[in-house]
């Protein structure tokens, strides 16, 4: 079981690397295309739906938008966290820890509520 726990750790590591890679690619495209533009983040205007909702992010990615791809990478990172809980839940199931299956399920549902109910 300790090995299964370690599996979670490695999946997380792989997930972060993948996410960072996507963000880096998106970042490169963004900088190449918009590097010289002046940017001002002092006022809060809110990120537009193209970069704040899953559908918009996927569309932007398909259009090879640097910013869209960055957001995709970030979504990936969030997905890794959900995976973290799901894998732990699975581990508890495997070891017959029924109480903790329910506990993990609660956490998982909380995460999903936040992401689906409020997010995209």
């Amino acid at each position: 079981m300790a090995r299964m726990e370690q599996l979670i750790g490695y999946v997380l590591l792989a997930g972060v690397v993948a996410s960072a890679a996507v963000v880096a690619v998106g970042g490169a495209i963004y900088l190449l295309g918009h590097g010289a533009t002046t940017i001002d983040y002092t006022t809060f205007r809110g990120v537009p739906g193209t970069y704040a909702q899953v559908r918009g992010i996927l569309d932007s990615t398909r259009a090879f938008s640097g910013r869209g791809i960055i957001q995709l990478g970030l979504l990936l990172l969030v997905a890794v966290q959900v995976l973290r809980v799901a894998l732990t839940l699975w581990l508890f199931r495997r070891s017959g820890d029924r109480h903790f299956v329910w506990i993990s399920l609660f956490v998982l549902l909380g995460l999903l509520y936040s992401l689906l109910g409020h997010g995209a």
Partner: protein, 278 residues
């Protein structure tokens, strides 16, 4: 300023934060929001979004190392995370309704308290007393694998730990930070877990708590690609770098420097928040 200049500067700063955080183990993320806001004049909401992402990234990256050491207690972690997730969603929703000034003031206060607390004794020895009934009922301390080398440790004051976790979650959602310090506090001080278990378990659940706020942040448009990209990449690069530098390299000096930096930033945030500079 031009995007490229902004990105490079933010990357450099985030790198330093990641480096410091990895070397001192004090979580460099907490300085990201103040530095972005005070130095780069980035609106606090964008800063919170970027910081939250950085927290998720470093927590995930370090997870493999922490789990390998074997001190992570998934049971205690998940159990406490129930409270943290609820707190985080609440905190994030609250953040969306508060004036930036208020968030800045809370942030400043939090930084000052952190700076003060970092001088406390790391781990107080508890007088022997019976473990909390909840801990026994849920078998929180048992290793799920029945590992022979598992160390049994008594767990106390579970409700208090639970409550502190909710606070940690709320702070995380409200400020875009990891609240690792509060989590370790809950486990170490309130529940009496061995320090290594507290830090490892805290690292494991920090990313989950951050993700709980992420949905709210995303839908409110706090997570901007232009700000988040250099922050995330910088922090990760710094953390990787920090993990490689000699661990013994004057850690005590670094910790003191870090506390002073946090204190200074706290004062600045508080001052700017109170004088309405946001």
């Amino acid at each position: 300023m031009p995007v490229i200049v902004f990105s490079l500067l933010v990357f450099a700063v985030a790198y330093a934060a990641g480096l410091l955080g990895a070397m001192t183990g004090l979580g460099g993320g907490v300085v990201l929001v103040p530095v972005l806001v005070l130095l780069f004049h980035v609106n606090i909401h964008y800063a919170m979004g970027a910081s939250l992402i950085a927290v998720m990234a470093t927590s995930s990256g370090a997870a493999a190392a922490f789990i390998k050491e074997g001190y992570t207690n998934l049971r205690v972690g998940m159990f406490l995370e129930m409270a943290a997730v609820v707190g985080a969603i609440g905190g994030a929703v609250l953040a969306a309704h508060l004036q930036p000034q208020v968030i800045a003031i809370v942030f400043g206060a939090m930084l000052l308290i952190s700076a003060a607390l970092s001088y406390r004794k790391r781990h107080t020895e508890h007088a022997p007393r019976p473990p909390h009934p909840w801990a026994l009922a849920l078998r929180l301390a048992d290793r799920s694998d029945g590992d022979e080398r598992s160390v049994e440790y008594p767990i106390y004051r579970v409700p208090a730990g639970f409550g502190l976790m909710a606070v940690a979650g709320a702070l995380s959602g409200l400020l875009g930070i990891g609240s690792g310090a509060v989590k370790v506090l809950a486990m170490d001080q309130a529940m009496g877990l061995p320090y290594k278990v507290s830090t490892a378990t805290s690292n494991f659940i920090i990313g989950i708590t951050a993700a709980a706020s992420a949905g709210v942040y995303l839908s409110h448009g706090y997570i901007d690609p232009g700000v988040t990209m250099p922050v995330m990449l910088g922090v990760l690069a710094g953390a990787v770098g920090g993990a490689r530098i000699l661990v013994g390299a004057r850690l005590d000096v670094l910790r003191i420097v870090f506390s002073l930096v946090i204190f200074a930033l706290g004062v600045e945030m508080l001052y700017n928040g109170l004088t309405g500079a946001f």
